[in-house]
Symmetry: C2
Subunit: 111 residues, 2 copies
DNA sequence: TCAAACCTTGACGCTGGTGTCAAGGTCAAG
DNA sequence: CTTGACCTTGACACCAGCGTCAAGGTTTGA
């Protein structure tokens, strides 16, 4: 985890930090897991915009759930992203299965 | 489907074309579906490199299966990509479910 | 025949996510 | 106090996937 990445995520609003008198960044205890989760989602092909949108859903203890500023538009965005994720999952699973079938066919013929 | 995209895919070796005396490109009948499949995979977050690697598995009639030039390394690459796809599917499905849970919780509290 | 509408290649630019390097501030160890 | 190892911001460069625009060739239609 290069500092470059972390500062980039911070600039995109995915993580936050406090500053001491140093002007040094101080990342909270939860930041490490956050960054790992962000990396996972980026590797899975999501953009920082989408990750930013869905991050509130991914808090470890969802109690207390963020309730303020949840407009009907927020809900609509989340539903849209959830559906997009479902589409992605379907496409990827389907193509993964195609690879599996192909490999099985190869193995059958190589008998 | 802008010509720019299609030529880009061609440059990446995802599709092929023949040339007439014109020097105009001539895409076969199967090219349209190919491009749509490529778009689907790109939208799902795969790179052209990966798509190129797994394309042979995605031919509509997998009979006759491409058998020449299938080395053990080819098989290894495909198995690796299949596993990577499985990881992606898991990550995306898990996070999609988290969004679903969040939305359900919101709805429960909004009663 | 001549203009409009296609095609060709090539160059340039943009956005996203990162690496790297420069010029400075800060801190801990010797 | 000085040196080296950290931090800061900012600039520059890179690759991927794509839009766009320029300069030229080809085809079509009036």
């Amino acid at each position: 985890m290069s500092p470059r990445q972390v500062r980039f995520y911070e600039a995109r609003g995915l993580i936050t930090s406090t500053r001491g008198a140093n002007n040094y960044r101080d990342y909270g205890e939860t930041a490490l897991g956050r960054v790992q989760q962000i990396r996972e989602l980026l590797d899975a092909g999501l953009s920082t915009q989408v990750i930013r949108a869905i991050l509130p859903c991914l808090e470890s203890p969802r109690d207390p759930i963020v309730f303020d500023g949840v407009t009907s538009e927020t809900v609509a965005v989340l539903e849209r992203e959830r559906d997009r994720l479902t589409e992605r999952v379907d496409v990827l699973a389907r193509n993964r299965d195609a690879i599996g079938d192909y490999l099985a066919e190869l193995q059958r013929r190589a008998g």
